[in-house]
Subunit: 351 residues, 2 copies
Amino acid sequence: MWPDRRILDLLGIELPIIQSPMAGAQDSDLAVAVAEAGGLGSLPCAMLTPAQVRAEVDSIRRRTARPINLNFFCHTPPHPDPDRELAWRRRLAPYYSEFGLDPERPIAPSNRAPFDSAMCDVVEQCRPQIVSFHFGLPEPGLLRRVQSTGARILSSATTVDEARWLADRGCDAIIAQGTEAGGHRGMFLTEDVTTQLGTIALVPQVVDAVSVPVIAAGGIADGRGIRAAFALGASAVQIGTAYLRCPEARISDVHRRALFGPEARRTAITNVFTGRPARGIVNRVIEELGPLTGIAPQFPLAAAALAPLRKSSEAALSEDFAQMWASQSAPLARELPAGELTRMLASEARR
Amino acid sequence: MWPDRRILDLLGIELPIIQSPMAGAQDSDLAVAVAEAGGLGSLPCAMLTPAQVRAEVDSIRRRTARPINLNFFCHTPPHPDPDRELAWRRRLAPYYSEFGLDPERPIAPSNRAPFDSAMCDVVEQCRPQIVSFHFGLPEPGLLRRVQSTGARILSSATTVDEARWLADRGCDAIIAQGTEAGGHRGMFLTEDVTTQLGTIALVPQVVDAVSVPVIAAGGIADGRGIRAAFALGASAVQIGTAYLRCPEARISDVHRRALFGPEARRTAITNVFTGRPARGIVNRVIEELGPLTGIAPQFPLAAAALAPLRKSSEAALSEDFAQMWASQSAPLARELPAGELTRMLASEARR
């Protein structure tokens, strides 16, 4: 039925389709819908508190008995750099004035926290079948605690070096994330975007470099992409943007509108929203400050000062400062309930 | 045998493999070897005079009766901009000194000429079965003359808009060139590299947008990539970098050495060599001046002042200023005679 059963057997799922955890763009509803359809539903936890994660897992467990994936960021917490943050606020000040916001008002810190002992407690309590990480892996002690729960461990590689690094540290499968992918690049051994490979180049090189199964991610949005990923040697795919047009996605109205329009045909890898490279639909803030800028504070500090602008922009239904993560295959996405989309993707892939 | 015979029937070839024309990196030997193996051999003509093209075609015809592809650039000739060229020479002057070259010495103009009436005469005389263009299409009068010879016309699209533009003007098939590709981006309706899509995203969107068959290019270097291209809806593939390690490739020793080494794992899209974005192995000149710079004169003027540095660097077996075009799949390339490689690629793709 499927060319490679390794991921299906490893994760206990029916379909080789992993729904990408998309922090800030979904909650448990999307994860449940995908899980019930036979794929792997994922809950992004990077912007949740431990209590919120527990509540979401409880909600998932009430609605499905299928395996679920909890996803965490594991970036190195940034060194506070008041000068750089001040310079960033000064650069954004004219935009604050434009939106009638006080550039001097206190701003809330970003809520993107790396995986830590408190979150590890939650994992030990909730025992998700799968735990996936973005930006590398947590420190060895925490990783061992997660492994001890019996969870399968996944993480993203954007280069062959990162794939080997993850495999050497015990990842059960590697997500090979090509440059087409929407949202944050998982890159963690390098900050140089010229190292980042397109999916058709990355996947076979990662497959050749590691012995664990490989999950292809980046630009896969329909059955053609899934079949292509299998041809490249992947055992499964991770799909994000194709789910953003589902009613289960929790995105701003302006983001949803842009995904339906011609804007979705032009995305860029930018660090203006959070300080880390991530792919989104090109808009005014990306054009005027980026796509890549040296003045944005370290991840996730840049997000704090940008957040009020983003919020005002989205509230005004303006794309100008909206955060609109999307892959280069956004125009291939269809507006369907997530369960139906999952089954359709599988059916197209098997044709 | 093959999932889609449209390109085979259109071009009169046995295998759905087109050898990318690689100006400055090959001559008729590579084209003949690929043609005799059943693929489409291509002769890059952009850096040849009409007399040289005729001589090369004669040489090909003596060695194979298979169809051949003559490839031409059709960029708009640049407006001379003496100030910009002077600024470029000034920027390069310290490097000239480092290599013991006189920064004031006269430099030869770049020999990359767009397709013109004299070349069209050659096409009318030589009657190649296929003519392909890079950077769009020649002006309508010239295009009609080429079409009147009965030649099939191909050109490269890097966006959906470019694909539609080419199809509307009568291209018989569209080469969808993803960002992974080595050498010059075919982009011609835009100069903005954020519009450029990875192969896995570009190919299905182009397939959906045009009714002519689509040839996938960019990052395809083995049978896995070919099968992936078919899955994405392509009817054939165009492969370049995988042929650079063949003995028939005419590249510098330093380029060949880099293709065998770890350097080949890091490429970038740069305009420092010619003024137009092209992917090559990252070296000192790319790191110090690029990858993309606003000071390089318009294509192909930038190449003139860089050429002496490139020549000195390559003569000294130094990678620093060498031009080393390569795709992101360069590490997948194998060292084999081109005919053997072509047959192996086809055999892997059919497995």
